[in-house]
Each structure stands twice: as C-alpha cells, then as structure tokens.
C-alpha cells in the first residue's frame, strides 16, 4: 500500500510539472499582458519599461524556471489585474467554489442514484420514460443556457431566488461560508442545480445501466428464489454492487466540477476560483492563470489518489490484487 502510494505520488509530481510547462507555453500565445495593464495614454517606451520590469523580455526557459522555483515555495507572484498575491486570491476564492461543488455533487449523487434505481426497477413505466427523455434534454443543453433559464424563471419571473452572488457570508477563520445564513443558502440553490444537472444525468444513467446488469445476475435470481424481500434484494444486494463504478465516476466528476465550474460561476457571478480564472484570461493575467491550472491539476491528482484508495476499501478483490501486485 505504501509503495503504491509513493509510486502514485511520484507520478503526480511529473503530471504537475508537465501541466506547468504546458500552461506556461500556452500563455505566451494568449496575448500581451501589458496591453491590458496600460491605458491608451501610456507611452510606448513606458510599456517597454514595464515589460522589462515584469521580466517578460527574458527568454522562455528563464521565465519558466523562475515560475517553478516560486511555485515550489507556494509563491505564484502577484496578479497583474488585482495586484494581490495570487496564492492569497485563490485561497480566498476557494471556499465559494468548494461549497458550490459539494452542494452540486450532493444533488447529483442523491437524485442520480434515486432516479437511476427507480428507472432500473420500473423500466417500462411512463415515469421512467419521462425521466429518461428529460435527462437527454438536460445533458444536451449547454450549462450557460440552463443557468440563464433558471435565472429567468426563478429570479426574474417568480422572484423566489437571487440571480447572482453568494448572499450574506460568515467568516469561520479563513473559510468564508455562505451556508450559515438564509440568503447564503438561497443563493446556492440555482448555481448548484445548474452545475449538478450534467453529473446528475451521468450518475443516473450509470446507476440504471449497472443496476439492470446486476439484476440479471444469478445471485439475484437465487436471492429471489430464497424468498428474500424485494427491498433486501434491490438495496442490500443489487445497489451495493453497482456502487463501485459510481464512486469512481463521482470522484472524477467532483474534480471536473471544481475545475469546470467556470461557466456556472460566470453566469451566477459566483465569487469562486472559476470566475477568478475567466476574469484573468481576458486580461491575460498570467500568474493567476498559471497558478489556477496548477491548482486544478493538483485537485485532479489528489482526487485520483483518493479514488484509488477508496477502491481498496470498497472492493476486496482489488485489495488482494493490489497486495499481490505490490510483491
């Protein structure tokens, strides 16, 4: 197990380095950060001076080495746009994104599993058909449209829920949470639903497929023959065995939810790292963009690690195989 984790850690390090290199190379083509830092009044020689001071005239490998050197110390420089340390910015924006991500993952998981089980147990019913059709629509509409649609219905027309922002927040040390106030919780609903829809559909279809598969297995038939209650068969035996792929997908999707909440955060003006990133892209705020990509890579690496370890916990067969492989 330890050897396994160590090996994974080394792989992770390589992944991070490659991400850093690629993101750094890409950003050289996004545009000139200086262009958005200066006004039309700024003289050209001043622009040149600024480029010099920012180190933008140095050769690529020197800039990259400097970036890696700083990154290893947890130091990502100063945002060109907001003129604050990047690490501080990301840390202060993180709670918003994490709360949104977990809320949407929770919605996706609960409704995904429930609807998945329902459609698997009653495959021919009208309700199942309706759910399956709706899920197809849900998965094919772009997030942006869903968000704007929800805002239009629930904020503009019905005026039940806020259309933007995070509402009132409370400070718990460095963690700024919106979960403790009513306006904070109300603000969470629409963005969380928007962000969860895709995952929800995915989980639902996965659970349904797995469940249908499992219900055809021999041991379910034997269990039925033994006269076990429907409830015990469906939830005790069948559902439990469909959960391994669901855990994998949920784990991986949690990563992408955090990483790709960009659209949802933009639509709802949710003050998380996603909207920080998109604001930075437009003005070519390279330090923030690079740090953000590194951060996302880090999230994926950590989540993959956790998912792998969870496999061990859930599936005994893997444990045996894992130990065998370790020898």
């Amino acid at each position: 197990m330890v050897a396994f984790i160590l090996r994974r850690l080394f792989q992770s390090f390589i992944v991070m380095l490659v991400v850093a290199l690629i993101s750094f190379m890409l950003f050289r083509y996004v545009g000139d950060p200086v262009a958005s830092l200066v006004g039309q009044d700024t003289r050209l020689h001043e622009i040149e001076e600024l480029r010099q001071r920012l180190g933008l005239n140095d050769p690529f490998y020197i800039q990259f080495a400097r970036f890696i050197g700083n990154a290893l110390q947890g130091e990502f420089g100063i945002s060109y746009r907001l003129q604050q340390p990047v690490t501080e910015l990301i840390v202060s924006r993180l709670p918003a994104t994490i709360e949104l991500a977990f809320a949407s993952a929770l919605i996706a998981l609960v409704f995904g599993v429930v609807l998945g089980v329902f459609t698997a147990l009653k495959p021919g019913s009208f309700a199942s058909g309706a759910i399956m059709t709706l899920s197809l629509i849900g998965v094919s509409l772009p997030t942006f449209l869903i968000g704007i649609g929800l805002i239009y219905i629930f904020a503009v027309e019905l005026q039940w829920l806020p259309s933007f922002g995070r509402g009132q927040v409370t400070e718990l040390g460095w963690w700024r949470t919106g979960l403790l106030t009513e306006s904070g919780r109300r603000s969470l609903i629409l963005p969380a639903i928007t962000l969860s829809l895709f995952q929800l559909t995915l989980i639902m279809r996965l659970v349904r497929a797995e469940m249908l598969e499992v219900l055809r297995q021999d041991y379910i038939r034997f269990a039925r023959a033994r006269g076990l209650s429907k409830r015990a068969i469906n939830f005790g035996h069948a559902l439990k065995n469909t959960m391994v792929p669901v855990i994998t997908i949920t784990g991986l999707q949690l990563g992408s939810v955090i990483a790709f909440s960009i659209v949802t955060e933009t639509v709802f003006q949710w003050p998380g790292v996603g909207s920080l990133f998109i604001n930075s892209v437009q003005v070519v705020d390279v330090p923030v963009m690079a740090a953000y990509l590194m951060f996302i890579a880090f999230v994926f690496v950590v989540i993959n690690l956790i998912v792998d370890i969870l496999y061990y916990a859930v599936d005994p067969r893997l444990r045996v195989h894992g130990i065998g492989g370790g020898k």
Binding site: V30, G31, D32, P33, A35, S36, V38, G39, Q40, D41, T42, R43, L44, H45, E46, I47, L50, R53, L54, G77, I78, Y80, R81, L82, Q83, Q84, P85, I148, I151, Y152, A155, V156, Q159, P162, S163, F164, G165, R166, T266, V267, F268, Q269, P271, S275, L276, I278, N279, Q282, V283, V284
Partner: protein, 524 residues
C-alpha cells in the same frame, strides 16, 4: 416652552427627512475597479469607483464642462504664462478627520507624476508644484500649457499625513510584486466612505457626514461587479439591483419596455474608427505586391464611399450609435457639424475611383479587429467587410481579444484595423498627438498606419504651447481640414452609453462613463 417647541420641530424635521435619508443604491456593472490606489491605474472603471470616495481639483459635468470641485478657481498667473494657480476650497475634511490643505494637493500632484504612476503622462509638462499658502497651489509648467486643467479631472487628492503614516507615499509598484495599503484602504474627501471591499464581489460605501457639499440622496452604495451581461440585466429585472451600467445595446429596447425599469442613454466620449497603413511599401496582407493601394487617395475615398454608416447604426448597433464623419466625439474642442458630415454611400462612384487608381479588379487586405473591447466591435468590422466587398476590396477578417489586438496596433503590424479612441482632455490635440503626428518618441504612439506629414507635425506640436486660444483653435481647424481631406482615419461612429435603472432613480449618462452617485435623485 420654547425648548419643547424646538424639540418637537426637530422631531418633525427628523421624521420628514428620515425616509429619504436611508436610501441604498445597489449598483451593478461589468467590471470592478482594479485598485483603490488612485494614481496607480489610468482606467475608467477604476476612476469611476474612486470618484465616489476621492475628489479631484476639477471635475466634468454630464455636458463635459469643467466644473470646480476641490479647487474653486483656476487661472494662468497674470505675470507668468507658465504657471497655473489653483484656489482651494475652504473647510474640506478627509474621511479620517484631517483638514484638506495645499500641502495635500502638492503631495498628490507630485505622487501622480511620479515614475510608477500611470497618470504621469497627463502631468508630463509639470515642472514643479508649490504651495503658496494653505489654500493656494501653483503648478509651474515647462512652457505655456493652456490645457493643463483638462488633464487633472481624474487626479485624486490624497491626505499627505495619512499616506506617510501608512507608507503609501510612493505609488504601488505592482510590477515588482508590491502590495500596499492604499490598494485596499482609502482616505478621501469625497461624499462616500469605503466600508468594505471584496474585489470582484462587492464593495460598500456610506455617505460621509463631514462632506463639504450638500448631502446626497443616496446614503449607501453597494457596488456589485457582475461580469455576465445577461445576469446583470436579470438582476435589475428581479429587483436585486437598482442601477446597471454597461447595458448591452441589444437589451436596451427590451428594458425600456419593461415596467418599473428605465434606460438613460447618451453619447460616450469615444470614437470608433478604422485605420490603415500608409507608406510606399506593399502591404503584407495584400495580393498587390508592388505597391500599397492605401497610399492612393482615390482608394481611401472609394473605401469611405463604400461604407454605409447609417446601415451600421441601424443593423449592427440597433440604433445605439452616432455616425461620425470626423475622428472625434462632439464634446471635443475643434468639433464642428461641417467636419462631422460624411458622404452618402455611393458604390458606383467608389468602383470608378478604384478603377481610376488602377484597381479595377479590387485587391485583398486583412482587417484586424478586437472582439471584446468596444460595443459590437467584431460585428462592425464584419459589416465593413461586406461593404468593401461590394466594390471589389476583398477583406479577410482577423478577430482577436483586445489583449492580442493591441500589440498589433502598437507595433504597427497591421494593414487595416479597428480602434476606439476616447478623448479625456476634450481637446483635439489629444487626438492629433497620438493618432496623426508622425510616430516618433513622444508622439504618434497609436499612429499604426504610420501616416506622416511634416507640415502637420509642426502645427500639432505648436498646439501644446499656444496660449492664444483663438489662434490655437484656428490651427486645430486647419489640421482637421487636412486630416479629413486626406482621410488619415476612417471614422464610423461614436458609441452610445446606456444606464438602466429602477424607474424611481434618476441618473444622467456621463460622457466619460463616470456616473457620480452623489448626483442621483429619487423621483416618484
């Protein structure tokens, strides 16, 4: 008895004032201020934010006129044309309680023209700033500078003592990775005091009780940057915000028709124009490889005749633009209706001119356009591509975010480009200096087409120091005449600004897009 009466009337007065004295204005716009350090960035959104908290010596009203603010009078010293005298307002206090004096003005003007300040270009001709007494400041210029007061409408006055105490005497050097106290904290003389600030999320300001001017109707401002236009508009419709700036043109009509919401529009101080490459060398992006078609005046005339500005206004801008025949907005000194006139489109004549110039079959050229900077910038360019196509000029459109577009223009790496230009000094010289004068050193920074005319250059330079205003205006008129006849720039329109608000809120559009919330009033 008398005391009782007084108390009673005080209560009555209090009761009458109370409803109006607690008005919160929730104000949404597309972007947030970059920094609160008033001299660090020369950028509109940042200035607008800081205008609520800090004050300047002079200001501009909604018509674009200079009006007194912290200075009550300003004039050129009688015996020395190189010196501007500013008389300061009495009884002004900073939010921290400090008195406002000439020392603060000297300190702030020097800070604004220091090396790291982004405003220093506006103060480039200042030689020295001296406090004569507590309420008089003299600004010594390097030579006669008739327009200096126009340059200082965004130069905010900070408290010297406060700046020293918090170690912000120097402007933040963000390039060196510096963070400073003034980026997030303020101490101005303005009508509002900053209460809290979360960049990109919300900032709260409340009315400053010690302010020298009349108390504003709005007592609390909640400033909410909302990037996504659709969300911003939805927030107004759902009643969560009271005022929305940066309203997309396509939403204006719908918002105007909505109950409880109104839209104020007004011309912005920004001209949108096309520029092209002069000079004899062939264009990089053209199929004519032995000469430059743009260099031929007939070709430039043909291009103008092919463009239908009214159609662009109607179709692309949904009526929200002011077509222009001269490359300056109407507020600017030097503007006349005659200059602003433009020819009706005439395809037949344009084709004829092209043929006369030897391009009967037309030619190809690439048009560089930004796609996230000006109102419908890419769509305007697309329209022009189609219009030029009608006379045989086959245009390839290269659309980029402004961060990639700007370097092309600054380095003159474009043959044909769209650009917008604001004129913060409200004077033609500002346009000439950067867009018309030959590109060299201090001048012609955005003359991407590399137009050059030594005779004009000389006239342009003379504007900087000419104090006889009649003579100066005559020179301006002469320069514009040549610029227009030569078609140095191809102006399309002036942008229109729109603010949407709840129907009981009154706020006029400011030509520099700097609404002052202290000017907001409430109707029925």
């Amino acid at each position: 008895m008398r005391k009782l009466l007084l108390t009673a009337s005080a209560i009555a007065l209090g009761a009458a004032v109370l409803p109006a004295s607690a008005e919160t204005l929730r104000w949404a716009r597309g972007a947030d201020a970059l920094t609160l350090d008033p001299h660090s960035q020369n950028e509109g959104t940042t200035h607008t934010f800081n205008h609520q908290i800090y004050e300047t010596l002079l200001n501009r009203d909604v018509e674009g006129n200079l009006i007194p603010r912290l200075a009550t009078e300003w004039y050129v010293k009688a015996d020395d044309p190189n010196v501007w005298v500013f008389k300061l307002r009495e009884g002004v206090k900073f939010h921290g309680g400090q008195d406002f004096t000439a020392e603060d003005v000297v300190f702030s003007l020097n800070r604004a023209r220091s090396d790291k300040s982004n405003l220093r270009q506006l103060h480039a001709d200042v030689a020295d700033v001296v406090a004569i007494d507590d309420l008089t400041v003299e600004v010594k210029m390097n030579g006669p500078s008739p327009l200096y007061p126009n340059n200082i409408t965004n130069t905010f006055i900070m408290d010297k003592g406060w700046s020293e105490e918090h170690d912000v005497v120097e402007v933040q050097d963000f390039a060196a990775g510096e963070d400073n106290y003034a980026v997030r904290n303020t101490n101005g003389t303005g009508p509002y005091v900053l209460q809290s600030r979360e960049p990109d999320v919300r900032s709260v300001m409340t009315v400053f009780d010690g302010h020298w001017d009349e108390k504003p109707a709005v007592t609390e401002i909640v400033y909410l940057p909302i990037k996504e236009a659709a969300t911003r508009v939805a927030a107004l419709l759902s009643g969560e915000v009271d005022l929305v700036q940066d309203v997309p043109v396509q939403d204006i009509e719908r918002l105007s028709a909505t109950d409880g919401v109104k839209v104020e529009t007004g011309p912005e101080n920004r001209i949108i124009y096309f520029g092209y490459k002069f000079g004899d060398a062939p264009l990089k992006s053209s199929n004519i490889t032995d000469k430059n078609p743009i260099a031929d005046a007939k070709v430039r005339e043909a291009m103008e005749l092919a463009i239908d500005r009214e159609a662009i206004k109607r179709v692309v801008m949904r009526g929200q633009s002011v077509p222009a025949g001269v490359a300056m907005p109407p507020f600017v000194n030097g503007w006349t209706p005659e200059l602003d006139a433009f020819p009706a489109p005439d395809i037949a004549k344009a084709k004829e001119l092209l043929a006369e110039a030897g391009y009967a079959d037309g030619f190809t050229i690439t048009l560089d356009t930004p796609n996230n900077r000006y109102v419908n910038d890419e769509a305007v360019s697309q329209a022009v591509v189609g219009m030029l196509g009608q006379i045989g000029i086959r245009v390839t459109l290269a659309s980029r975010p402004v961060a990639q577009h700007s370097p092309l223009v600054q380095n003159s790496e474009t043959d044909f480009y769209l650009l917008g230009w604001g004129v913060p000094t409200f004077d033609s010289a500002y346009v000439f200096n950067d867009l018309v004068h030959t590109k060299d050193g201090k001048y012609g920074a955005y003359n991407a087409g590399l137009y050059t005319n030594p005779e004009l250059d000389e006239k342009i330079r003379s504007l900087g120091t000419e104090i006889d205003l009649d003579k100066r205006n005559a020179t301006i008129a002469e320069i514009w005449k040549v610029v227009k006849e030569d078609r140095v720039l191809l102006p399309i329109h002036n942008q229109v600004l729109a603010y949407a608000m709840k129907s009981n809120v009154n706020l006029e559009v400011h030509p520099e897009n700097q609404p002052l919330i202290r000017g907001v009033t409430y109707g029925e």
